[in-house]
Amino acid sequence: MKILVCITHVPDTTSKIQFTDNNTKFDKTGVQFIIGPYDDYALARAVELRDQTGGELTVLNVGEAETEPTLRKALAIGADKAIRVNAFPKDAYFVALQIAHYAKEGAYDLILMGRESIDFNGGMVHGMVGELLGMPSISPVMKLDIEGQSAKMAREIEGGKEYIEVDLPFIAGCQEPIAEWKIPNMRGIMSARTKPLDVVETISDETFSQVNAFQLPPAKGAVQLIDKDNVEELVRLLKNEAKIL
């Protein structure tokens, strides 16, 4: 089985987010980058499926050279080879276009990615890739099993789950608890150094949107601890300070 996992290179969830150039650019100074947490779930399940069924697991990222350490982390976790599409990920369509082009050439049985990235949170790429390749795209997938040429999965829906069966190939946007995040061992980390990481150029520069500016949410207010028996004080503060009553 040939599996492609698309990963994002995103700021660590504990990073302090700041912008520069009049709030048009993300300030990367001192920021640690990680594999997108939802992509990490997809990768973990892909490693398990590759180990069960045999075959090859490729990991792909659309990004500039600075994303290569993140791809190496995916190789340490268990991917066999890595591809970096050499471009800044301008918008969801741009990214989907690159993935679709590469995936079409590779004839993958399964294309997995996170249900959304945690930087722009668009949640659109898997759907767009499905459309571009003419394949089913299902998200958010929280359980996935492969039986021969078909897959059984559970998808989260409002208030419950939906159980789906679909033939390969298809695309899935993944989330927990599809698999437990995998932590690379020392041997995996060392072998990641020598696994192939190829850089390919973009197929098109076409985009549908552009970001004009970013805005941070307002700063969190201070926490006030109120005695559990002092309901009057709580009401007073909610009325006079928080002004929500």
Binding site: D27, G30, Q32, I34, A76, I189
Partner: protein
């Protein structure tokens, strides 16, 4: 829960403040680089968050119990031990041929820092196994290595250091555990008892391998008659009992997740031990390994201090209390306590100690890596400087983190004294470090009585040279000149005080060593001030290269200033005492108390 360490600072310390990346120029480390190190730190962070941190308070509250002669641990510990073993963490620094990955000590120690800050108890198990296995692989026969180390590396078997006895703790000269030859080469009958044996018995592993000090029958008295043995709890090949009994478990003040046991060896005259290396050289083998362990203890204290600092910082940023000085209007909203100067003082105190200590310990670990790969005079110089710095790197963070964790409790006020917050646990867990792996008193004696004077004071001279070199480097930066002037002054003071003390070594050894612990504190403060100046230079460079942000830079530069304003000045009072001719501690008699 708040973050328990600063990823940003750990990376700054490794990659900007210490030349860790230059290690790859040596063939032993040639396969490594920043990318590998980042992955190791990242993996350690994930293990810490997923497997260690969640059990921090639970392991404290449900401590191990001795049931039917076996110590039962928290059930999560078995999986955690296996995770350390299967992940390759126990033998990571060892050679490829041994199944290791030739990871530098400095990186191994940095990963350990993450584990220790998350949950110190859990980190003790692999740390001990690694130390015990290292003794076997360094001094043991091929048979011992083949029989014991693979399962220790995999985390299936626990390793321990079995040194202390009821009448032999700091003074190992007096240990009495006996080894009697069986007639088979290298195999002895062991008889005796050991106390305070960390992880000496538990149910998360299938065997415990004790690295035990004992006296071979007829051996010379004193430390020269001590030999080192491998004494497994279960004998090979069929894992039947080796007559090692768990007599008791101690109830500790902190790090309760890791048990310490009272063990009886050979109660039924059926306990076999296997000699490691040559007879009567046990203590020298043990001490060669202990230097690394001692730096590790300094790191443990620093990690716990770091976690406490982070917890108190998070609280100070959320807790409103009081108003600005001069603000009389009670209708005005309260300030967050981090706005108050005295709270900031307590936070700066913690930050200056834990980040200064981290800088020193990683520097020492880097020197340890150099000792491993350098040759000739270069190697000798690195080893001598490392030897001098080891008692400082062990003791100063250990002593000071008792105070920093206390400051963390203080920041939280009444809340800090309750078990609703982790500060009180960190305070208890920090307290062991000035005690184990040699008390602070022992390290004071080691520093002044040995390390400062041996080789005609070569270690001290190398430290002064290194400080001088940092001062010259810092003088390039205008804003650091203020600190270089101060440090130069204290460098002169350090030399004067040391000279005056050393002059006393022959004429009055008792007075010479009476205040060795104070001398250790004196030279430690100076060493930390040097480390902070090193950080100042690295901060300037990292800022110019766009590797760190403004807030990180300003936060650390202000902490440097704090250390020089509040901590370094303590050397004056210590110098006064160290050069005084009055010794009430010698004069005082037991019956006068």
């Amino acid at each position: 829960m708040s973050s328990f360490y600063s990823k940003k600072d750990l990376r700054f310390q490794l990659f900007q403040n210490n030349p860790v990346l230059t290690l790859s120029q040596y063939s032993y480390f040639k396969d490594h680089g920043k990318e590998t190190y980042e992955m190791i730190l990242d993996a350690a962070d994930k293990i810490a968050n997923a497997s260690l941190l969640p059990y921090l308070s639970e392991m404290d509250r449900k401590e191990p119990v001795l049931e039917n002669g076996k110590i039962r641990l928290h059930p999560a510990m078995k999986k955690i031990l296996r995770q350390f073993g299967e992940g390759g963490w126990i033998n990571a620094p060892y050679t490829y041929e041994e199944g290791g990955q030739q990871i530098p000590q400095v990186i191994q120690l940095a990963a350990g820092f993450i584990f220790q800050a998350a949950n110190y108890s859990t980190s003790v198990f692999p740390f001990l196994t690694s130390g015990a296995a290292n003794l076997i692989r360094t001094f043991g026969s091929k048979t011992l290595i083949d029989n014991f180390t693979p399962k220790m590396y995999s985390g299936e078997w626990q390793g321990t250091m079995a040194l202390t006895e009821p009448d032999a703790g700091s003074s190992l000269t007096d240990l009495s555990t006996q080894a009697t030859p069986t007639g088979e080469e290298g195999v002895y009958q062991i008889k005796g008892q050991k106390i305070y044996i960390s992880c000496g018995d538990h149910d998360a592993c299938t065997n415990v391998v004790h690295l035990l000090l004992a006296r071979i029958k007829g051996a010379p008295a004193g430390t020269k008659g001590i030999s080192l043995f491998v004494v497994p709890q279960k004998r090979l090949p069929d894992l039947r009992s080796n007559d090692v009994l768990t007599e008791g478990i101690y109830h500790k003040m902190g790090y309760k997740g890791a048990p310490i046991a009272h063990l009886m060896f050979g109660s039924h005259d059926n306990c076999l031990g296997y000699l490691v290396g040559e007879p009567h050289k046990g203590l020298s083998y043990m001490f060669q390994m202990m230097n690394e362990a001692r730096i590790g203890v300094g790191m443990n204290a620093t990690a716990i201090g770091t976690a406490a600092y982070q917890a108190s910082l998070a609280y100070a940023k959320e807790r409103p209390q009081g108003r600005k000085v001069g603000e009389k209007d009670p209708a005005r909203p309260q300030e967050l306590i981090i706005a108050h100067a005295d709270v900031k003082r307590m936070l700066l105190f913690q930050k200056s100690i834990v980040e200064g200590s981290l800088s020193l310990i990683l520097y020492c670990a880097y020197l340890s890596d150099l000792v491993h790969v350098q040759k000739g005079q270069e190697r000798e110089a690195s080893r001598t400087l490392l030897d001098l710095l080891t008692p400082i790197a062990k003791s100063y963070p250990s002593e000071m983190c008792c105070l920093t964790t206390s400051a963390a409790v203080q920041v939280l006020g009444g809340a800090g004294y309750t078990t609703d917050f982790p500060a009180e646990q960190y305070y208890r867990e920090a307290r062991i470090h000035p005690i184990h792996e040699g008390t602070t008193g022992i390290h004071g004696l080691d520093l002044l009585g040995r390390k400062v004077i041996i080789q005609d004071g070569m270690g001290f001279t190398l430290l002064m040279k290194a400080v001088g070199s940092t001062i010259r480097e810092a003088n390039v930066h205008e804003s650091l000149k203020r600190y270089t002037e101060v440090l130069s002054h204290y460098q002169e003071l350090s030399q004067k005080v040391t000279l005056k003390l050393v002059e006393k070594a022959r004429e009055n050894p008792e007075e010479f060593l009476a205040d060795a612990t104070l001398y250790l504190e004196f030279l430690s403060i100076f060493t930390l001030a040097w480390q902070w100046l090193r950080q100042g230079i690295s901060l300037k460079e990292a800022k110019e290269n766009g590797q760190i942000g403004e807030a990180f830079y300003l936060g650390k530069m202000t902490t440097l200033e704090y250390f020089y304003e509040y901590e370094l000045v303590k050397m004056k009072a210590l110098a006064e005492k160290l050069t005084s001719s009055h010794f009430p501690t010698i004069k005082m008699k037991a019956e006068w108390f």
